[in-house]
Symmetry: C2
Subunit: 383 residues, 2 copies
């Protein structure tokens, strides 16, 4: 029987898979790993949910109708293989639905390889994702550097302020004005403290977290992913080669059989009868051989597919974590900046207070009491 995987009528297992694909990545990857460990039959089913299923009608004992003829016809019609990966031709075969239609998920958009600008070599889609990860790590590191620079600026500012606050300038100003002035100088030391506190908190609460988030293990992990997926691609390439080889062998056998059959038509001899039987056996054998190779190829491609989906979901998760981590710590930066401004405000208030109390007549009284020479006024001298 034939059915379209996107049509509402689906066998149980099929519809389960579709649902689990719509659900969050968690259930999705689970379902993939199930699939990976499941029997060939259920693996076939798994694949069939994600690949375009080839019409069941074509499942026939190979050799009954020449597999070579059929296969060549089909490939021309509906499929193409690029860098050893087989895709449906545009408009051919039933339409594909995105695995996560509403999420712009990595697992939906990096199946093809990417031609580099020169168009010479081409880069696996997965490498594009890995480069994004490496770039993200680099950005995080550079942000931490930026904060480090800011810290150095704050520390120098604080150093200069507290140095100035110790200056003896106008230290001999007296009275209430002298008190206000002394407090004003002290307030520079308080400001310095505020900026030092800012610098220290920037270091522990922003710079360090940004720097240490995902140590060297991270790059190691990426390498592992990279090798794993690359190996599967190599395996796929070699499996593809054997398919090609087997296809050629089958074609040759086919030609030989046809030749022999024609000879039979012209002159009958039991020797030729024998040859034809032999040729048909070899052709059938070559057909079985091709089927085995194609099956191995499809198994590998399926394995690669599953790993791609799982790993891309993993990278997607990592990127979300990175962005949220950075957002959280840049928020901490602005919080500390706000605090700094508020604390700074408070360093000026005692100065305002004492400036309020400045009183020239009070200061005169204090100074006169300390410096007066005598309040007895001169009188006329007598004769």
């Amino acid at each position: 029987m034939i059915y379209n995987p996107v049509s509402p009528i689906l066998p149980r297992e099929e519809s389960d898979r579709q649902r689990s694909c719509q659900k969050g990545e968690e259930s999705f990857t689970n379902s993939c790993s199930e699939a990976r460990t499941s029997s060939t039959k259920s693996r076939q089913a798994e694949r069939s949910t994600v690949f375009v299923r080839k019409p069941a009608a074509q499942k026939q004992p190979p050799g009954a109708v020449s597999p070579a003829k059929r296969q060549i016809k089909e490939v021309k019609e509906t499929k193409t293989t690029i860098n050893c990966v087989t895709f449906p031709l545009p408009g051919e075969g039933p339409e594909q639905q995105l695995l996560k239609p509403d999420e712009w998920s990595y697992c939906d958009y990096f199946w093809a390889d990417k031609k580099d600008p020169q168009g010479a070599t081409s880069l696996p889609g997965f490498e594009v994702l890995l480069q994004k990860q490496l770039k993200g790590k680099q950005m995080q590191k550079e942000m931490s550097e930026f904060v480090h620079e800011r810290i150095k600026i704050e520390e120098e500012y604080a150093k200069n302020l507290s140095k100035l606050s110790l200056s003896p300038l106008a230290a001999q100003e007296e009275g209430t004005l002298g008190e206000a002035w002394t407090q004003l100088k002290k307030s520079l030391h308080d400001e310095a403290e505020v900026h030092l506190k800012f610098a220290n908190k920037l270091h522990t609460e922003v710079e360090k977290p940004l720097l240490t988030f995902r140590g060297d293990n991270f790059k190691k992990d990426l390498k592992k992913y990279d090798h794993h997926i690359a190996d599967l691609r190599k395996q796929l390439a070699s499996r593809f080669a054997s398919v090609e080889k087997a296809r050629k062998a089958l074609a040759d056998r086919q030609k030989d059989l046809d030749l022999k059959t024609q000879q039979l038509e012209v002159k009958l001899s039991n020797k030729t009868e024998e040859d034809i039987k032999k040729a048909r056996r070899k052709s059938t054998q070559a057909g079985d051989d091709l089927m085995r190779c194609v099956d191995l190829y499809n198994q590998t491609q399926s394995k690669w597919f599953e790993e791609m989906v799982t790993t891309n979901m993993e990278l997607e998760k990592l990127e979300v974590e990175r962005i949220e981590w950075i957002q959280q710590h840049l928020r901490q930066y602005t919080t500390l900046r706000h605090e700094t401004d508020m604390f700074n405000q408070s360093t000026v208030e005692p100065v305002d207070q004492l400036l309020q109390n400045v009183d020239p007549s009070k200061d005169r009284e204090l100074w006169v009491k300390e410096n007066k020479t005598g309040d007895v006024r001169p009188v006329d001298m007598d004769i």
Copy 2:
């Protein structure tokens, strides 16, 4: 008739003077300058309000009773002259009331000279006031220097911040996170602007006013005051010298007259009669001479007194102005500091805003749209 200047019953002019002395310095100095330009009689009155008035009973024609005897007796009793200035002895003569009892006014407390620590030389009270003025000018200058140093610190801080804000670090961060990061870097430039503005306003609104308040004219003016008062003191010294000289001359004449009188008692001769007449004339002349000298001395002391009062009031006014000027500009400093903290706050707000908008799935969408390699999934190869 004798009366006590502090008793409620006072002659009209007297009470006027007392009142004007209680009133603000303006009316006071006016009254002093009136006094200076007024007739001797009214000047006498003026003085009498400020000096302890000597008992009117003692106003007698000199020579009637020997002036020398009387004067020596009196000085011993009630008055003393220190550095050529004549003061009432403690407890002698009617009590003096302060010219401005509630004000700790300069004009009440710097009549005596100040012995220096070694007690060798002594410094006029007026010099103590001048030194206070010079010190005040110095303090004002040092405060301006302090503000200048603060300005330099702010300028360097601003320079470093805006330099860092231009750094390319993490410039390749993308999407909503990239926008937030770009704004965070920009915010350092905004902060720098705030601190530059602070520095510029500190320069024009605090440093400069403090530096330029009372230019070099001020010190010139002080020198003028200084010389003027010092000259009067010199004049007073020379007048005092002539008094001493005249006093001695009178004493000699007195002795001579006494001698002649004794000779008359022992043996009578008209020649002696003549000598006595002559001696009495000379003694009377010496008495008149002494009176003239004492009057000149008292005139000078009175002039010095008036100048002291007026100038001390002037210095007092200058000091009040200085304190209020500094208070006003230190207030400006704290106002600018508050502004700076407020403006700084506002530099962080756009960053907060954009951090609010950071959205990992949005960023994934943007990145995927730009970097996707292909969303057509692989399919099984057919045979």
